[in-house]
């Protein structure tokens, strides 16, 4: 049970997850995408919009802007003490007031909480022409990716099994698999193809090399074989900037742990009710 990072930045991470089952790896991926909350603009009050875009399109565009999120300051409205009525701990407000002609950027949004500013300042929201005006107030709340993708902290987030490439003695070094590999993970050496170790993780498991090998007339079984290692996964996680990737990983694991713990509690209650179970 281990995580080994081969790359870890603020907005992207690549790591090898070892010693877990398929189901757990997939739940982990799903939790990262849809159970980690982020801030996104949810309600927009439009006072004046004489631009070419309809209010709805404008609101949708505002919602998609990633916002820096500090999970210790904000709470999900459903879990807030105010019961979702709206308080400074579950939402933050932005104002925008621009007159044309100009391009309106995400940096023009004035946040009430400077820590919850948009991640990028140069996202074009809309173009204003002569005599056009845009005045609005937007409210951002925490939400989860399973409700709307604007609350998804990850962009590309996926995993694949760790590749195991074996080349047996029948390899005659014809080099056809080397030419075929789209990721250039093979090389020719000493009359036999070999795997370049630092490029092994790039393998797509596409098995084009196996097909190329068979085309070389080696028989029905290729000399090169691509297999997947069970319970070892290469994860690739990209964040949209609202949360650092290390936080996404941590929060996802905490979510899984928390739901399991709450199931245990419910089980204790059921056991207490039927009283044929010893409680822990």
């Amino acid at each position: 049970m281990d995580i080994v990072f081969s790359r870890l930045g603020d907005n992207e991470a690549r790591f090898v997850l070892e010693g877990v089952s398929d189901g757990f790896a997939n739940s982990f991926r799903r939790a990262m995408m849809s159970e980690v909350p982020t801030l996104a603009i949810e309600d927009v009050r439009i006072y004046d919009n004489t631009s070419v875009l309809f209010d709805e399109i404008l609101a949708s565009r505002l919602g998609l802007i990633p916002i820096r999120t500090d999970l210790s300051t904000y709470r999900l409205p459903s879990r807030c003490e105010c019961g979702g009525a709206g308080c400074p701990r579950c939402y933050t407000v932005y104002t925008l007031s621009v007159e044309g002609p100009c391009m309106v950027y995400s940096g023009d949004l004035v946040p009430r909480d400077p820590a919850a500013s948009p991640v990028h300042d140069r996202i074009p929201i809309l173009r204003l022409f002569e005599n056009q005006k845009l005045v609005l107030e937007a409210r951002a709340v925490l939400g989860k990716g399973k409700e709307h993708s604007k609350w998804q902290p990850t962009i590309a987030c996926g995993y694949k099994h760790y590749p195991v490439i074996t080349i047996d003695d029948r390899c005659d070094g014809c080099g056809m698999c080397v030419d075929e590999c789209p990721r250039g993970r093979l090389a020719n050496g000493k009359g036999k193809a070999r795997v370049i170790p630092e490029r092994l993780e790039l393998c797509l498991l596409c098995r084009l090399c196996e097909k190329a090998c068979k085309r070389g007339g080696i028989g029905s079984e290729p000399a090169i074989r691509v297999d997947e290692e069970r319970s070892r996964y290469i994860f690739n996680v990209e964040g949209d900037g609202s949360l650092p990737v290390r936080e996404i990983i941590k929060e996802a694991l905490l979510h899984l742990k928390e739901s399991t713990r709450s199931l245990l509690e419910s089980l204790d209650e059921i056991a207490g009710g039927t009283s044929d179970e010893e409680s822990e």
């Binding site: 004489t50 070419v52 875009l53 565009r61 998609l64 802007i65 990633p66 991640v119 990028h120 140069r122 996202i123 074009p124 929201i125 809309l126 173009r127 022409f129 993708s149 998804q152 990850t154 962009i155 590309a156 990209e238 949209d240 900037g241």
Partner: protein, 62 residues
């Protein structure tokens, strides 16, 4: 207007739009500009590649 995010993966692609348009109009190859701007997946590349800016044409009909 250029969509804020890539429809498929969600990457913020609108950031790259203005530079992309300027450089392509300046005669550069669209493919190299996209790679330069950090758009490596083909879902993100098609967002810019196939975009047509219409707000200016729509403006007179407000």
């Amino acid at each position: 207007m250029i969509p804020v995010r890539c429809f498929t993966c969600g990457k913020i692609i609108s950031l790259a739009w203005e530079e992309y348009r300027e450089r392509v109009e300046g005669g550069e190859d669209a493919g190299t500009v996209l790679t330069d701007l950090g758009l490596h997946r083909y879902c993100c590349r098609r967002m810019l590649l196939t975009h047509k800016e219409l707000v200016k044409d729509l403006n007179p009909y407000q």
